[in-house]
């Protein structure tokens, strides 16, 4: 029998359609069908100035806006050859890790809910709310932050911001214990996840998996550690690994990442350097509001950047960062004008989704739900 799951199905986390060929309860063949959220962001980018692309990047992977911002601005800064002041880099790392926690909390809540543990969802969203409030304080937006700009970050964070982050960082590890109390030893959870949707390291590499999906199969790679960007080389953290390659292994990796991320946030708070938050590049970075009102030169630069954009030297870069879901990459080609010639986003989810047939074929329909949850897909990123 052919069964159509989605595109409107609570466990497909968006508008993924999965075509299942089933024999009784067993899945014979499974085929994901995507494209329901395709909005042509890559094409739109070609018609915008470089600085106007930043708000578009939020909307690709809406669960980790800051990671998208970071990846894009790093790529443009690499094209420009721009040096970023340390405080901006550390702020970026700190917010990026908060974003990772935010994204993992949504994953944990919805994944547990798919499998039937409804309580976890409310616990996760309680902490997510705290993070969203922090984002609102720093950027004015809860989700579509657009806080990172080419050359630095948009604004100085508000005065009590670091205290609020510290308060969150102090309480969060005990909250992770709460989630683990609800799930890790829970016999139903273990039965639904252990040994389910297993994938070997070879298959995971061959099919292009990345992030916790790859590390859950025992492949030790994390771009933050192995190809550091934005000052990650200054931070000490462990890369959680698990070797079983099943849903439970991926769960363990992500939960361990929650703890590592909060330790990075704490390190960033302790070592936050002083200094400017924007690079000294008047032709690229918008001037301070105050200077704009008092200095003619700043006013001119402001006018020029807003109306004409800034030219980026010819060339191409591929910048990859470790997003909560895996390797997020931006490939930008510049032809020397103020608009990018081509922007391509390497979507971690699109590649991870290719694992689904390997994970599910020959197993029960109920395991498909667990498998989809365990690769943590965001359709906005897959379809772009």
């Amino acid at each position: 029998m052919i069964l159509n799951m989605g595109p409107q199905h609570p466990s497909t986390h968006g508008v993924l359609r999965v075509i299942l060929e089933i024999d009784g309860e067993n899945v014979v063949r499974i085929m994901p069908d995507i494209g329901y959220l395709h909005t042509g962001i890559e094409k739109t980018c070609e018609a915008k100035f470089y600085q106007q692309v930043v708000p578009l990047t939020d909307r690709i992977d809406y669960l980790c806006p800051m990671t998208n911002n970071l990846c894009y601005v790093l790529a443009v800064e690499k094209l420009l050859g721009l040096e970023i002041p340390p405080k901006a880099q550390w702020l970026r790392v700190m917010l990026n890790e908060l974003t990772r926690i935010n994204s993992h909390l949504v994953w944990l809540g919805t994944h547990a809910m798919d499998i039937g543990a409804l309580t976890v969802f409310l616990y996760c969203f309680r902490e997510r709310e705290d993070i969203l409030r922090l984002f609102e304080a720093v950027s004015g937006q809860r989700m579509m932050t657009s806080y990172f700009r080419v050359g630095g970050v948009a604004l100085e964070p508000p005065l009590d911001f670091f205290d609020r982050v510290r308060k969150f960082a102090d309480t969060f590890p005990s909250k992770v214990d709460e989630y683990e109390n609800l799930l890790t030893g829970n016999p139903i959870w273990v039965m639904r996840t252990k040994g389910v949707a297993r994938i070997t390291a070879e298959d995971a590499i061959a099919l292009g998996a990345s992030g916790p999906t790859l590390r859950g199969s025992g492949v030790d790679i994390d771009l933050r550690r192995d190809m550091p960007y934005s000052g990650y080389e200054n931070f000490k953290f462990k890369v959680p690994l698990a070797s079983e390659g099943d849903v439970f292994a991926r769960y363990q990796c992500r939960v361990a990442e929650l703890r590592e991320s909060i330790s990075i946030v704490r390190q960033a708070l302790d070592g936050m350097p002083q200094g400017p938050i924007k690079a000294d590049a008047p032709k690229v970075v918008l001037p301070d509001r105050e200077k704009m009102k008092t200095q003619m030169e700043s006013l001119i630069y402001h006018f020029k950047i807003i109306t004409e954009g800034f030219a980026v030297p010819e060339g191409e870069v591929y910048q990859a960062v470790e997003s909560p879901r895996g390797e997020m990459g931006y490939y930008i080609v510049s032809d020397g004008t103020a608009k990018p010639y081509r922007v391509h986003m390497r979507s971690a989810c699109l590649a991870n989704l290719q694992l689904l047939p390997k994970m599910c074929e020959g197993r029960l329909i109920a395991d498909v739900v667990a498998a989809i949850g365990s690769i943590d897909i965001v359709l906005g990123e897959i379809d772009r």
Binding site: G35, I205, G208, M227, V317, Y318, Q354
Partner: protein, 165 residues
């Protein structure tokens, strides 16, 4: 940090393991190379892309065992019009390299690398869908993002940003 000029002279870049490996196998397989902003791009001859990929994947010293991404750039109206771009990653050596293949504008076609890296499946389908490049030997070359009955390939430069209305 000032930008250093790109190195495009193949003679100077010969030492790079991927180039050395490809040239050792077939001198004609490498059309050119570019080292710019710490990133290496290698222009590969169109007809050997699958063999070259397999060679780089199975290299003993520096195996590029992971295909990060496949994409395309349209240089309309100049010729050769398309560049198909492969981003490879070596997980053991933590190194990246970019392979590029130039394609002409009329009926662009290329051999698929899905037999080397199964992960190329969706990436190549996306390039086919949005640029109209055919990959011979692909197991399921159908549109992936756009509807099945869509006409045209939206990411081509002669396709208007706001679409045809």
């Amino acid at each position: 940090m000032a930008l250093t000029p790109a190195i495009t002279d193949l003679e100077q870049l010969k030492g790079h393991p991927a180039i050395a490996r490809l040239q050792g196998w077939n001198t004609a397989s490498v059309e050119g190379a570019k080292f710019d902003r710490d990133e290496m791009s290698i222009y590969v001859e169109r007809s050997v892309i699958r063999e070259a990929s397999a060679l780089l994947r199975d290299d003993a010293q520096c195996p590029f065992n992971y295909l990060s991404d496949v994409t395309c750039v349209d240089w309309y109206p100049s010729e050769p019009r398309f560049e198909v771009i492969y981003h490879l990653l070596s997980i053991p050596n933590k190194e990246r390299v970019r392979l590029k293949v130039r394609l002409s504008g009329d009926s662009p076609a290329l051999e698929s690398v899905t037999s080397v890296w199964p992960s190329a499946n969706y990436f190549e389908r996306e390039v086919f869908d949005l640029f109209g490049i055919r990959f011979s030997g692909h197991p399921y070359l159908r549109r992936i993002q756009m509807p099945e009955d869509w006409e045209g390939h939206p990411l081509r430069k002669d396709y208007p940003v706001e679409g045809y209305r």
